[in-house]
Symmetry: C2
Subunit: 330 residues, 2 copies
C-alpha cells in the first residue's frame, strides 16, 4: 500500500507538498500539482483515513443506531439521513442493535474511540441517564423519539396522533376499543397509550383494554389471541405499530372474524406491508424521510459548531384511512 512518502519520493517533492495538493489547501504551482498527480496515479495512491483523521481529529462520519433493521419503518428514515449527510460530505454508517443493549454499546464505542463524529439514536429504549452518558461522549440526536431531558430530537407528536387514531374509531361508533401498546420502556409507547386514554376519556368512555407487545407481528398475534377471549369482546383495536395491527388482523381472520365488520383496526407507521394486508390498513403516517433529513441536519449543525435551533423538532403526521377500520372507505 503506497503512502504519502512514496508519492513524495516519486514526484520529487516533500510530503508537505503532496498533502497540499491532496487537500487543495496551501499554494502550489500547476507544474508541481501535475507531478504529484502523476505520481498518485502511477502508485494508485489512496490516503489513509486513519492517519488523516487522527491528525484532523474528525472523521466526517456519523453513526446511526437502529433497534431493529428488520423493521421497514426505518428504511425511509435512513434514506433521508443518508441524502442529507451526503449533501454535506458526511458518510453514514449504520449500527443494528436487535434491541440489545450490549450491541448498542458496541456502536457507542465507535463514538468514544473517535471513529465517528456524532451519533443518532433511533427509537431508542434507553433510560434517560444512559442517554445523558452518551451525550457526554459526543453529539447526540434522537430520532422518532423525544425525552424529557435536554436532548436534540426529531419526532412527531405521538400522543396527539394516538388521540386522533382512537378518536376516529370512536367517531365510527365504537365504544369498546382495545389498545396494543409498545414496550413500556420506550417513551413513545407511553405517549401513544396516553393519547388512546385521553381519547376515551374525552368521549366519556370508561372501559379500556390494553395489552403490551414489542411492536412485532408475532406479538400482535399473541395479544389478539388473548383479546379473542375477552367478554364482551372489543369491536375495535388501535395498535401502536402496523406490525402488531397486521398480526392482529391475521389472527382474527384465522379465527373467523371479519375485519372490519367484527373488528375495526387502526395501526401506526404506514409501513409498506400496510397496503398489502387484506384489508389494507388504516394507519398513522409519519413523515419518515423528513424525520431522517431533519435529524441529520441537526447533528451536522451541532458538529459544525453552529448554534442549534429548536431543541425538540415536532413534524406533522396524518391519518390515512383504508379499509381495515370500516366506515367510509377511501
Amino acid at each position: 500500500m503506497a503512502t504519502i512518502k512514496d508519492v513524495a519520493r516519486m514526484a520529487g517533492v516533500s510530503t508537505a507538498t503532496v498533502s497540499r495538493v491532496l487537500t487543495g489547501n496551501g499554494p502550489f504551482t500547476p507544474d508541481t500539482r501535475r507531478k504529484v498527480m502523476e505520481a498518485i496515479e502511477k502508485l494508485n495512491y489512496q490516503p489513509n483515513g486513519l492517519g488523516r483523521y487522527l491528525r484532523k481529529q474528525e472523521t466526517r462520519t456519523v453513526i446511526v443506531v437502529l433497534p431493529d433493521i428488520t423493521n421497514p419503518f426505518f428504511s425511509q428514515i435512513i434514506r433521508g439521513m443518508e441524502d442529507e449527510a451526503l449533501a454535506h460530505g458526511f458518510t453514514v454508517i449504520l449500527g443494528n442493535t436487535d434491541n440489545h443493549a450490549d450491541r448498542q454499546r458496541n456502536y457507542v464505542k465507535l463514538l468514544e474511540e473517535r471513529r465517528a463524529d456524532g451519533i443518532i439514536l433511533t427509537a431508542v429504549r434507553n433510560p434517560q441517564p444512559e442517554i445523558e452518558a452518551i451525550q457526554k461522549i459526543g453529539p447526540v440526536v434522537l430520532a422518532c423519539e423525544y425525552s424529557s431531558g435536554m436532548f436534540q430530537s426529531v419526532a412527531i407528536d405521538n400522543e396527539q396522533a394516538a388521540f386522533e387514531a382512537t378518536s376516529h374509531l370512536i367517531r365510527l361508533g365504537h365504544k369498546r376499543i382495545a389498545h396494543f401498546a409498545g414496550p413500556s420502556e420506550v417513551v413513545l409507547s407511553g405517549d401513544r397509550l396516553h393519547g388512546y386514554q385521553r381519547a376515551l376519556r374525552e368521549h366519556g368512555i370508561a372501559e379500556q383494554w390494553v395489552g403490551e407487545g414489542d411492536f412485532s407481528l408475532e406479538s400482535g398475534r399473541r395479544l389478539m389471541q388473548k383479546l379473542l377471549q375477552a367478554n364482551p369482546r372489543p369491536t375495535a383495536l388501535f395498535a401502536a405499530s402496523d406490525k402488531m395491527a397486521i398480526g392482529a388482523i391475521l389472527e382474527a381472520k384465522l379465527h373467523g372474524l371479519k375485519v372490519p365488520d367484527d373488528l375495526a383496526v387502526v395501526g401506526f407507521d404506514d409501513i409498506e406491508m400496510a397496503e398489502v394486508v387484506d384489508p389494507p390498513l388504516t394507519t398513522i403516517v409519519q413523515p419518515k424521510y423528513q424525520i431522517g433529513v431533519e435529524a441529520m441536519r441537526k447533528l451536522i449543525t451541532m458538529l459544525e459548531g453552529r448554534p442549534d435551533p429548536a431543541l425538540q423538532t415536532i413534524l406533522p403526521h396524518t391519518l390515512v384511512i383504508r379499509r381495515s377500520c370500516g366506515g367510509r372507505p377511501e
Copy 2:
C-alpha cells in the same frame, strides 16, 4: 478528552506501561495495574481508536454493503453476519447504496482509507471488472451472489431453485407460465431466468413470457398490468422476488382475477410479507441467517490469514408451499 499521556502522568508511570495494562500484553505488577486502572477510572479515559488502529494497521471492523435497506430479505442475513462478527470480536458497519453506484463507492472508500479491514458485497450488481478492482483494495466476500471470477462467495443455487419453482407449477398442470425477472445486470437474475427456461424446456413447453423488473413491489404491479393484456393469458407466474410476486397478486386481484384459481403464483426469498399477503405466497426459502454467518466466517478467515476453504459456498434452499399456487395447500 483524556489521552494515554494524561493517564500515565496521573498514575506516575510511562505511557508504555499504561498501554501494556490496557492491552493486557506485556508484564506488569498487580500494583501498577491498580494504579493505572484508578487513573483510567478517574479520568474516564477511553483509548482513541484512530491512534490505536493507525499503529496496529487494522480496525477489526468490516463493512457490509447492501443495495437496498428497504428489502426485508436482508434483515436475517445481516443478523447472521453480526452474530458471527461479534463472536470474533469484529464490529459490523452497514452501508446502504440504494442501488446507486456512487454510494457504493463511498463505502469502498472506507476500505481504501483503511477504516475497515474487509468488505462484504450483498446481492451486488457490479460488472466483474469492478469487483476485481475492489478485490485489489482488500478482502471481499460476495453474499447471495456468485460470479464467474475468482471471488469468495456464499449463495444458494439460484438456477436450480428457479428450476424447482417452475417445475412445481408445471406439475400442477400449468402450461402457460410467465416469469418476472430481476434486473439483467444482476447475475442471479440471469440464473433464475435460466432455471425457469430449463424447466420449460425439459417439460417440452415452448411458450414463454418474460418481463424484467427490479425486484420491487411496484415493478411487480407494472409487469402484471402488461401480463393482463397477454392473449392467451398465462395461468401461472414465477417471480424472481417475493415483492414482485406480491405486487402481481395485488394487481391481479384489483382486476378481478382470483389467485390461485385464475393465476397461480410462486415467489422467491420468503420475506415476512409473504405470509401476510392474501393468499399466502408459495416461495423459495433461502437459509438467510446461515448465508450471513457463512459470508462473515469466510471474510474473517481471510482477514486472519488462514487458508480459505471452498471458493464458492452453495447453501441449500427449499420450496415452501402455501396457497398462492393452488394444488394441494399445506
